[in-house]
């Protein structure tokens, strides 16, 4: 067995286990160990850039494939994990709790996500997905003294279990229809068999529903605002970046492997409707929010809508657009959560007062928040603007064949305009409102500084010079 194909995942798991044991043996040095884990993740990431991977390798009877697409996203997810670990080390409530479990769990979730990028079989996908989800049950309620964190953990648990149930139920139908769970076989198995195609459509819809939980897609979006608000900020950051990216990578993989139901080839009606609903739900739901973490939950839903739109539009350019969007989204969303990690109050929530006068209390945080919010809103010259633009281009491209997509492009634009309102309102608090009298200057820990610099550089770089990433995304597709 060619275990070296799995070397990145193995490295991450070993790192997590060592971190866990080291924390148990040297409880006085947990801060050092936590930082060591973050740096370890970075080392794995950097090392993976120099490793020569076998082109298109398959493992476990084709259940695991390693191609450029998988490798790129493994690296992206590792990067996200490293940034989140740095944040977790600076997060005051988590520091008080101590221990290395949070960091180890983040790494285990990362391993699950990395396996997801390579999943080429529904069972493998299910197991990897559960690894991620179960880890997040713990991460979300990690601050067990906070009732909000417990509430977040419970909501995530109940809906997570429900979605896993949907998925398992759907998989049964998929297996019944296609007689196989391997992505490679399904397309052939369904060939010319109308009955099987009907059963498969039903099964696949359930699988999509289960996956939709990860993506925060309507109708599985309801947990997002509650959990984002209640979970420890670094956990929410990882939920918004890593977990979402992994979910969309799986969706892309399903598209690439031709596993989408044949009925959707002409017009993916369900996907289109879900994209539109997700977009509008995210945009409208955020309007009345006052807690920034909660708002980000809605923002995450709106962004999921954009990504779904890109996948529904399809085509090489649509998929490249989704890949680009995912990477730029990572920087923006981690930057916001990095700011919140520092400014969030003792209960780890961030109502409007927490941001007031941020420009005075810490110009760096205010600037990072400005750039990140603008990137999320889609204002140039930041990555978010081009991400939205590319998705729109892909949509209009598709609309020239299928005019229904014009309506979707319209919905997307309306959604973006509505969402601008709440992003700007956050900025108003940070930039326009005077600082409360008691608020002192904020000292930003160096770990958060590093994260912020990386994210800001990433957003600007992707917004000004998208060509390298676009080229890479296009290469990933072939």
């Amino acid at each position: 067995m060619a275990f070296y194909v799995l070397q990145m995942e193995i490295a991450v798991v070993v790192l997590a286990v060592l971190g866990l044991l080291a924390g148990a043996f040297w409880p006085k040095h947990t801060s050092l160990i936590r930082r060591g884990l973050a740096e370890g993740a970075l080392v794995v990431l950097v090392a993976s850039l120099f490793l020569v991977f076998p082109q298109h390798h398959a493992l476990f009877g084709g259940a695991y494939v390693l191609d450029r697409f998988a490798i790129v996203f493994k690296q992206v997810l590792l990067g996200a994990a490293a940034l989140v670990l740095l944040l977790a080390d600076a997060h005051e409530p988590l520091r008080k709790q101590g221990g290395t479990e949070f960091a180890a769990l983040v790494l285990l979730a990362t391993a699950g996500m990395m396996l997801l990028t390579s999943a080429n079989d529904f069972i493998f996908l299910f197991v990897a997905l559960e690894l991620v989800t179960i880890t997040f049950y713990v991460l979300n309620s990690f601050l067990r003294g906070e009732s909000r964190a417990l509430e977040a953990g419970l909501k995530y648990l109940v809906l997570g279990a429900l979605s896993a149930g949907f998925m398992a139920y759907g998989l049964a139908y998929v297996f019944g229809a296609a007689d196989s769970l391997n992505f490679g076989d399904i397309h052939h198995a369904l060939h010319d068999d109308k009955t099987a195609q009907g059963i498969y459509l039903f099964g696949f819809a359930l699988v999509l529903l289960g996956l939709g939980f990860k993506l925060a897609m309507v109708p599985m979006q309801i947990w997002a605002p509650d959990v984002y608000q209640g979970a420890p900020t670094p956990a929410a950051a990882f939920l918004a970046s890593g977990s979402k990216i992994a979910g969309f990578v799986v969706l892309l993989r399903l598209v690439f492997a031709d596993v989408f139901p044949p009925a959707w080839e002409a017009q993916p009606v369900v996907l289109m409707a879900l994209a539109a609903l997700t977009l509008l739900y995210g945009a409208l739901g955020g309007l009345a929010q006052t807690d920034v973490k909660r708002l980000l939950g809605y923002s995450s839903i709106a962004n999921a809508g954009f990504l779904l739109l890109g996948i529904a539009a399809g085509g090489d350019f649509g998929h490249a657009a989704v890949i680009y969007y995912l990477v730029q989204y990572l920087f923006a969303v981690i930057a916001v959560f990095a700011v919140l990690t520092v400014v969030a109050n003792a209960h780890d929530t961030a109502d409007r007062h927490t941001l007031m006068g941020l420009h005075r209390r810490s110009p760096l945080l205010a600037l990072a928040l400005l750039l990140a919010m603008l990137s999320l809103a889609g204002v140039p010259p930041l990555g978010g603007a081009l991400g939205k633009f590319f998705v729109l281009v892909a949509t209009v491209m598709r609309a020239r064949i299928d005019p229904a997509f014009y309506a979707l492009a319209g919905v997307a634009i309306v959604g973006a305009v509505i969402a601008l309102f709440y992003y700007l309102r956050v900025l108003r608090g940070a930039w326009a409102d005077p600082a409360p009298d008691a608020a002192a200057r904020i000292t930003v820990p160096w770990t958060v500084r590093v994260v912020l610099y990386i994210c800001m550089a990433g957003m600007l770089f992707l917004g000004i010079w998208p060509q390298p990433l676009l080229a890479l995304a296009t290469r990933c597709l072939h």
Binding site: H359, P380, F421, L470
Partner: protein, 504 residues
């Protein structure tokens, strides 16, 4: 053939937005306490930019391409930016963009000068202002429509912060309203641009490549209103003008000057450059609608201005009326009308900046902008008073000042169209001058004349920086009034391709 490398000319053009961008970096590094230094750097950058634009205008005659060239731009260069979708950094200038850049550069200098007294959060104020400048200059030199669009978007956010942070009155509401409406307008523009990109079959955003295409009539039928309305929101087209009085009134002085003087002109510029140039058939088809709308603009703005009591609102509604004149000129669809519209953009840019500057100075001294609380200021503040009077006279179209030249061209062009609707609208629009005279003269009368008030006894007239700002703007107004050839010389050639396109 357009060079694909950064030629010296293209580099100089890029510097017009590069300089503000560099200034942002420099300002960001300066400590907040050094307010004088921050102002100094901003002024130096604005002056340098003015010199750069003046230099470009001086060098332009030698570099302009021969008439009838496919790409009638000087200093053009097209650098590939990203390949899919096909977008390039395509810069160049013709007379029209040079004129707009000149306007922007002048108002930038004056804006820094009138903001000389800003003490609180000066660093952020000047940084945001430079972002705004960078966006505006980038717009005027870009001929790849997507790049143009991006630079246009860049201007939106600093506007929000400048009004929301440094403004007065209901600033948060106004800032949000302005931004949402302009963003929605941009969204419409984006729809139109994507339409152009795909419908042309060329998969390009290159303005001049698109101009070679004859778009099918049904495409023009929906794309033209999308683009014209989209840019029209920024140009304060009725009924999408409502952001402008609120936004401009609550902005700080320098930003009111820049927003009303330059930023709004991006809308007019876009309407002409993109919508009318690329979609002439759509323009012909829809022009009656926009003719009526812009006539309403002119009359409505003027009548509402009569009812206002806040000086800034008077000028803001006057802006709506005068910007309506720009769109009204477009609706004539002939050379004179277009030229008048462009002249009106320049003239109104200077005038409105001047009036906003004067209002800012009055407010800084008397701490009120209410007509009822002002009076007899001519004796206390003669310099400011004279400037205000001259600006008002130019605004109502007194010959010898800039407004007259522009309005004459617009009305001549509009009246030359034979249909009855055009004639009627032109007559109505001309009548608006009477209304304009009513509110402007009434304002002058109320603010400057009458018995001097006791509470104004200790007021000081304009200081050096303010005098400089006023003199620069007044010089422009008078120069354009007595020697319009100085401006039309730049514009006429640039309008030729558009007129030809419209006649096609």
């Amino acid at each position: 053939m357009i060079p694909t490398t950064l030629t010296p000319g293209a580099f100089a053009l890029s510097l017009t937005w590069g300089l503000p961008a560099l200034t942002i970096l420099v300002l960001a590094l300066l400590p907040e306490s050094r307010a004088r230094l921050i102002r100094g750097v901003s002024l130096a950058s604005a002056l340098l930019n003015l010199a750069l634009v003046a230099g470009l205008i001086a060098a332009w005659p030698a570099h302009r391409p021969p008439a009838g060239a496919e790409v009638p731009l000087a200093f053009a260069a097209r650098l590939p930016w990203f390949s899919q979708p096909n977008i390039s950094y395509f810069v160049g200038v013709d007379g029209l963009s040079l004129l707009m850049m000149l306007l922007a550069a002048i108002i930038a200098v004056c804006g820094v000068l009138v903001s000389w007294r800003i003490e609180t959060r000066a660093k952020e104020f000047f940084i945001f202002m430079q972002v705004l400048l960078a966006g505006v200059f980038g717009c005027f030199i870009s001929f790849d429509l997507f790049t143009f669009f991006l630079f246009n978007e860049v201007t939106l956010i600093p506007t929000y912060l400048l009004i929301g942070v440094f403004g007065s009155g209901r600033k948060e509401y106004c800032a949000m309203k302005l931004n949402l409406m302009l963003f929605a307008g941009s969204a419409l523009v984006l729809v139109g641009l994507l339409g152009l990109y795909f419908a042309s079959g060329l998969h390009t955003f290159d303005l001049f490549a698109l101009a070679q295409v004859r778009f099918p009539a049904d495409f023009q039928h929906w794309a033209f209103p999308a683009l014209f309305l989209g840019f029209g929101v920024l140009g304060a087209l009725f009924p999408f003008h409502t952001w402008s009085p609120d936004g401009h009134s609550s902005a700080p002085t320098a930003i009111s000057m820049f927003l009303a003087g330059v930023h709004m002109k991006l809308g007019g510029y876009g309407c002409l450059r993109v919508a009318m140039f690329l979609l002439p058939e759509g323009a012909r088809e829809w022009m009656n609608v926009f003719l009526v709308l812009s006539t309403i603009n002119i009359l409505y703005g003027a009548f509402v201005a009569v009812k206002q009591t806040d000086l800034k609102y008077i000028n803001a509604y006057s802006s709506v009326s005068h910007c309506g004149l720009v769109l009204f000129g477009y609706a004539a669809l002939n050379f004179l009308g277009l030229r008048g519209a462009v002249l009106q953009m320049f003239s109104h840019g200077l005038l409105t900046a001047l009036i906003f500057a004067v209002i800012g100075m009055l407010y800084g001294r008397t701490h009120t902008r209410q007509l009822g609380e002002l009076g007899g200021l001519m004796t206390r503040l003669p310099f400011i008073g004279v400037a205000f009077t001259l600006a008002a006279l130019a605004g109502l179209g007194l010959p010898g000042l800039s407004g007259f030249v522009a309005e004459l061209n617009v009305f001549l062009g509009a009246f030359a169209q034979t249909p009855l609707l055009n004639k009627v609208c032109t007559v109505l629009a001309i009548l608006s001058i009477v209304v304009t005279a009513v509110y402007l003269l009434r304002t002058i009368n109320k603010v400057l004349h009458g018995p001097p008030q006791e509470k104004d006894a200790g007021l000081k007239d304009a200081d050096l920086a303010e005098r400089a700002a006023i003199l620069i703007l007044l010089a422009g107004v008078i120069l354009m009034g007595v020697w319009p050839r100085a401006i039309t010389w730049l514009v006429d050639d640039a309008l030729q391709p558009i007129v030809e396109q419209l006649a096609r």
